[in-house]
Amino acid sequence: MYLKNRLFGATALAMIAATGVSAENLVIATVNNGDMIRMQGLTDDFTEKTGHTVEWVTLEENVLRQRVTTDITTKGGAFDIMTIGMYETPIWGANDWLVALDDLSADYDVDDILPAMRNGLSYDGTLYAAPFYGESSMVMYRTDLMAAAGLEMPESPTWDFIREAAAAMTDRDNDINGICLRGKAGWGEGGAFITVTANSFGARWFDEDWNAQFDQPEWKNALEFFVGMMAESGPPGYATNGFNENLSLFQQGKCGMWIDATVAASFVTNPNDSTVADSVGFALAPNTGLGKNANWLWAWALAIPAGTQKADAAKEFIEWATSKEYIELVAANEGWANVPPGARTSLYANPEYQKVPFAQKTLDSINAADPTNPTVKPVPYVGIQFVAIPEFAGIATEVSQEFSAVYAGQQSIDDALAKAQALTNDAMEAAGYR
């Protein structure tokens, strides 16, 4: 350890001599997802290259969000880099709470970032956070069960086909559920899923005058369809299942289909964790023929809070972690299937990566998502599974709690929609929209 420190010290001194930047210790808040854990393991590479050291604060998603939000609004300055999402970035950027990433080096090739991700992480044309990985959502299904049911998955299925296939694959005696979907309360969990489902049924959160739209038939149709399908073919207790619960069900071979984040594709096809790794197929998220697929767009991104004294070092870290070289570093250590996906165009042009079974479908799904035009009818907001206004997280968490109570059979769809309508309008009034 002593020797290692000495070595780092020597490198750091060399760096000072070379660039005039002193070695800093960066504090980075991040989420405990697999790709970030991997990044933690590779930190030494960054330290060797730049001399800066890194201390990680790794937290579960909900705790992280609570922690970084409090820190940024109270100007706490506890972190030099924060891991935030596509929802927070434009809002925080608009408040001047983030350091603009408009002077990244030429080597970094900012134009290589997928346009959808870059738009979603910018405010007013300025990039405020660099995508570490990006995702959309798609259908993951068991090819063996699909074949046994005598069905064939189209490239872009309809919801009716999904429902029919789910019913055909369900085998309660053998603990196989035709379809596993998120029902867990929380705007980023079940709230996100029901919102994109509703989008594909022609629903929207708000009309052009910011009136809540839960009293419209589209929402009722979407919920009735979802609840009906899950009652026929979903797992028990799906009202508390989120991403992680469904992932582990799918990996254990207990789901015929799972519609969720594209990043899950690498987990379900990894033979170390998944018992069904060699029989997973992919398709675009379903639709109802109205022109919108039920898929979202999201990125976990690295941003620099405006208060930090170490903005330069922080930028060096962001350039390292979201670079093409980092992707190659992961590929060399862990294989191409495990590199952080969905951030860079060049990755999808790489012939090595094109061999990965889910690469093309991931890119297609990302390209099929349009945050500036998310719904069939016009809306005043940006964002697909979220509405990029500060009030949304609070509203959508409460709304999704009402919906989860429907999934658990504790209230009717009509009651839930009426409550959602009232509480949304109330919160929008409190925020001064109406």
Partner: protein, 276 residues
């Protein structure tokens, strides 16, 4: 025990008591056991109770991901520091309440307890803003103060009920003999109060160790204790029961061991004046 107890009755009591004891302890036992399984064995149906391939892999994975010792050390410092300061502040207060009671003593005591009823989340912003203002964010001293203040009412109350039980006659005898206040405290009161102070410290150490709201919201890289450590394991991707169990075991083991060794102390001390 003066009552004659038949052997049959004793056997019956033993069986019932052990069954209930094991039932209550089972979640902890299961967590520790699962931490030595592989992820696949952890969710095996039927559950595996002993015959499986014991492995330490989960512990090494957890240790690789986070520096356990640093979190542990912070936990020790925060819980220990807040307990010591709390007792230093609490002993004089409790002493004066117990031996020089006034009409308002009881009101003050109940008022102190009522300060604990302020919901922490309601003052998240005020406290965060103050911490930022005074540069206390992510410092151990800031957290020690918060933990101390949270538990001070309990400390004062526990000590007070203890001191109340010390017979006043002895103190008066000492006073007759011309003992000064300092001597009175040092030579008469202290020896009699030590068991009470010890169990007070123990209880507060446990409470401070387990506090999970402020220790999470006011820390970053430096001062985070084991509650922050566990917050990064609550929902990893995929199968995680075994790793969660390993992290949980690591978080609770030190305090569990401490608690077991000092069990007698705790049992004697946790009366809060319940015994007359």
């Amino acid at each position: 025990m003066a009552r004659a107890v038949t052997t049959r009755r004793k056997i019956l009591t033993t069986a019932v008591a052990w069954t209930i004891g094991l039932l209550i302890f089972f979640p902890i036992y299961w967590t520790i056991l699962t931490s030595f399984k592989s992820e696949a064995q952890a969710i095996n149906d039927p559950p595996l109770f002993f015959f499986f391939d014991w492995t330490l892999e989960n512990y090494s994975v957890v240790q690789d991901r986070s520096d356990y010792m640093r979190f542990l050390w912070n936990s020790v410092i925060l819980a220990g520091g807040s307990t010591i300061i709390g007792v230093l502040v609490g002993v004089p207060a409790a002493w004066s309440m117990a031996f020089v009671p006034s009409k308002r003593t009881k009101d003050i005591l109940l008022w102190m307890l009522s300060t604990k009823m302020l919901p922490a989340v309601g003052v998240l912003y005020p406290i965060s803003l103050l911490f930022v203002q005074f540069g206390l964010l992510d410092t151990r001293i800031g957290l020690i103060m918060v933990l101390m203040l949270i538990n001070l009412p309990i400390i004062v109350w526990m000590l007070y009920t203890y001191f109340k039980e010390i017979p006043v006659d002895i103190l008066e005898a000492a006073r007759m003999d011309g003992a000064s206040l300092r001597q009175e405290i040092l030579f008469v009161l202290t020896p009699m109060a030590v068991p009470g102070i010890a169990s007070t410290m123990l209880l507060n150490f446990i409470l401070a160790w387990n506090e999970a709201f402020w220790t999470l919201n006011l820390t970053a890289a430096n001062a985070g204790p084991l509650t922050a450590f566990i917050a990064s394991y609550s929902s990893p991707e995929g199968l995680f029961f075994a790793k969660l169990s390993a992290a949980s075991t690591m978080a609770i083991a030190p305090i569990l061991i401490l608690g077991w060794f000092s069990q007698k102390q705790l049992v004697r001390g946790l009366t809060f004046g319940a015994v007359k």
